[in-house]
């Protein structure tokens, strides 16, 4: 495992179904955790939980991915709350609109792109600059296997996540020289509020607890790209290798 200094992390979108267990994983490793999201009251409950379970420092910060203007001061706020520039940042927030509704309503498409892509790039760039200057740190974001190939079932979301994956690729390339690690996480289906009630193939749906464990491990190891669970790498390899003339006729 890579050792990161200081031993602290910011979790953006900390109340996401999987993020709370990622935060738990870091706290278990002894990291001080800053939870960031839109619902302070609810985050305080999670913070209390992490403190009781792992006896670590934990604080909560207001963060909205769509409020780009606020991002300029966010790194500073985090630094004040934790007492030092955090060791790393994990972006977990995300938004997936219903595809057919979005086809009828551009506002939903825009929100999809603004949250998953523009919002993520905006805040991650701020941390990238700070970490690059410090010459250390780790950055990770939850992209999606949906970004590996556009499908009619959710290609707005897929487009946003494909953009996010490409962004992280470039960022990794840029930050390599400064020793900052960038991890792209591509989850398959996870059993969280985002998918609750959807008709998904049960055997392929991961519990957020175990998915989070794999993610935390990958981040701490400084991995580049990780599929969670691992077998999605092979599923996506197959899906990507279907020729376009055939893929366009399919419903998957």
């Amino acid at each position: 495992m890579t050792t990161f200094q200081p031993k602290s992390v910011v979790i953006l979108g900390a109340l996401s179904g999987v993020a709370r267990y990622i935060a738990d994983g870091f706290a278990r490793e002894g990291f001080a955790v800053a939870l960031a999201g839109r619902d302070l009251e609810e985050m305080e409950l999670l913070a209390a939980d992490l403190r009781e379970r792992h006896e670590v420092t934990c604080c909560c910060l207001k963060f909205d991915a769509l409020d780009i203007d606020s991002h300029a001061s966010f790194v500073q706020e985090t630094t004040e709350a934790l007492g030092a520039l955090p060791g790393g940042v994990v972006a977990c927030f995300g938004y997936m609109a219903d595809q057919t509704e979005a086809q009828r309503d551009f506002a939903l498409i825009r929100k999809t792109l603004d949250t998953n892509l523009t919002g993520a790039i905006s805040i991650l760039e701020r941390f990238a600059a700070a970490f690059e200057e410090r010459q250390s740190g780790f950055m990770a974001a939850l992209s999606s296997v949906a970004g590996d190939r556009g499908r009619k079932a959710n290609y707005f979301y897929g487009a946003a996540k494909a953009g996010l994956s490409a962004y992280l690729q470039g960022l990794r390339n840029r930050l390599h020289a400064s020793g900052v690690k960038v991890t792209t996480i591509k989850p398959g289906f996870m059993d969280t509020p985002m998918t609750y009630g959807m008709d998904l193939p049960g055997a392929l749906v991961a519990a957020p607890q175990s998915a989070a464990q794999a993610m935390t491990r990958a981040i701490l190891k400084g991995k580049n790209v990780v599929y969670v669970p691992f077998f999605w790498r092979y599923i996506m390899w197959i899906i990507r290798s279907i020729p376009e003339w055939q893929f366009k006729k399919m419903s998957i």
Binding site: G17, D39, E41, E42, D49, E52, R53, P193, Y196, G197
Partner: protein
């Protein structure tokens, strides 16, 4: 506010008679509160689904999956009082607090149950004869009720509602949070004495003679043995161990458990794997293999949760599932227990080992199951004639003044439960005031007409 619903086939742990239910799964307390305030459909809360029957199944309305409401609120190491949300699992509590020197005051035979589920069935453990049941270690709960909103209930505040909720199978309200008194321990180990008993009398006499020296006592009974060997068993009784009496290898890390790989039953076994012969062979081997032994140091996981090491072991019974039968006879009805064992042994309905325990004093919980007496618990696979067979066991149980356990029940008739639980009338009165529009309901409550 509404919550997204999922249509999910669910059943109890016995996987007997699964039905599709509309489920919601809140993850946030503010969303849960808003949902409960505005919801108009009958609902029942569900924990980890370890009740064997239909206690947390609701076909007509909603099932509120509580497993993501699982945050710890506070812990006071001075008093050992833990405050947590209802969906926190006992497994979680052990993981967090055993290393700090605390254990569950009462634990069922699996750690994969929620705190709220444990209260709603007022569960008992191997220490019932000296400590009583789970709710007796609950200082207070926050209970959402349809008519009166969120109430703090404890043995001193809203005491009637508290004791209706303990064992009240989710029908008095939704348990949001609980304050639970943990037990201080010196190590993660239990010192166990194993003793073989040749028949039922030997088992019960040994319990009567020396249960008082053990905090934990349980017997595994070979319920296929007949005649002179009827009720032969292996008694497993123990106490928490002091760290300074542990073998050297463990004494320096008294709260650490040995690592153990988990095993999973990945698919349903074909129905024929567990038949009369294979089970009989297993039971015979189990009895023959066990030797009397004293002072065996066993870690808590192995002593309390032998089945938890095999994930989804309930699939061993195949697709049709099974039921669990738990019958408690009053102390003076030893004869009833004998008859029950005879009927089971003679029926050829394969069951693994049965568990026998002597209960102590009853809890004030109106529908709490334990009462002074003997309780026998066993699995019965689903098969032809199951309902009639179980009905005949129920009649026997009633005849001897015994009772069934709602956490296990899947087949009983309303009249039987009414006769077994004399406090049901009081329970109904309290319930009617808390829930006049019948917004709390489950398949169990309808099947057993718990509403009257």
């Amino acid at each position: 506010m509404t919550l997204p619903t999922a249509q999910t086939p669910i059943a109890g742990w016995g996987r007997y008679n699964p039905v599709v239910c509309s489920c919601v799964r809140p993850e946030r307390s503010n969303a849960l509160a808003a949902f409960l305030e505005t919801n108009g459909e009958p609902l029942v809360a569900r924990g980890l689904g370890r009740s064997y029957g239909d206690a947390s199944v609701n076909q007509e309305g909603l099932v509120v999956d509580f497993t993501r409401m699982n945050r710890i609120r506070a812990f006071d190491p001075e008093t050992g009082v833990l405050e947590c949300e209802g969906g926190v699992s006992l497994a979680d509590i052990l993981t967090v607090f055993v290393p700090r020197g605390f254990f569950l005051p009462v634990t069922p035979g699996t750690k994969y149950v929620t705190v709220a589920g444990a209260i709603a069935n007022d569960v008992h453990g191997k220490n019932h004869h000296c400590d009583g049941s789970f709710a007796q270690f609950v200082d207070s709960i926050e209970l959402w009720t349809p008519a009166r909103g969120v109430l703090t209930c404890s043995p001193t505040e809203n005491a009637d509602i508290f004791w209706a909720t303990a064992g009240g199978v989710g029908l008095t309200g939704v348990i949001l949070t609980a304050r639970l008194r943990l037990l201080s321990i010196d190590s993660a180990y239990v010192r166990v004495d194993y003793q073989r008993c040749a028949n039922l009398d030997a088992t019960l006499d040994a319990m009567a003679a020396s249960d008082q020296y053990y905090r934990y006592s349980v017997a595994w009974v070979d319920c296929l043995a007949q005649n002179a060997s009827l009720g032969r068993s292996v008694l497993m009784r123990g106490n928490h161990t002091l760290a300074n009496t542990l073998p050297e290898s463990k004494a320096s890390t008294p709260y650490r458990l040995p690592r153990r790989p988990g095993l999973t039953i990945p698919v349903d076994f074909p129905g024929c794997v567990l038949n009369h012969y294979s089970v009989k062979a297993f039971n015979t081997l189990f009895y023959a293999k066990n030797r009397d032994a004293r002072d065996v140091v066993v870690d808590y996981d192995k002593y309390f949760y032998p089945l938890d090491g095999i994930h989804q072991w309930n699939r061993m019974y195949g697709r049709k599932g099974f039921i669990q039968y738990q019958a408690t006879f009053p102390l003076e009805s030893r004869e009833g227990l004998v008859k029950l064992l005879e009927r089971l042994a003679g029926s050829g309905r394969a069951s693994f080992l049965a568990v026998l325990k002597c209960f102590g004093a009853a809890s004030p919980g109106l529908l709490s199951h334990p009462m002074p007496g003997y309780t026998l618990t066993l699995d019965i696979p689903n098969g032809l004639g199951l309902t009639a067979f179980v009905a005949s066991l129920d009649r026997l149980l009633l005849e001897y003044g015994g009772r069934l356990y709602l956490a296990k029940d899947a087949l009983a008739r309303p009249e039987a439960i009414e006769a077994m639980y004399p406090n049901l009338k009081t329970f109904r009165e309290i319930r009617a005031k808390l829930d006049p529009n019948r917004l709390l309901a489950s398949n169990l409550s309808r099947r057993l007409r718990l509403d009257g």
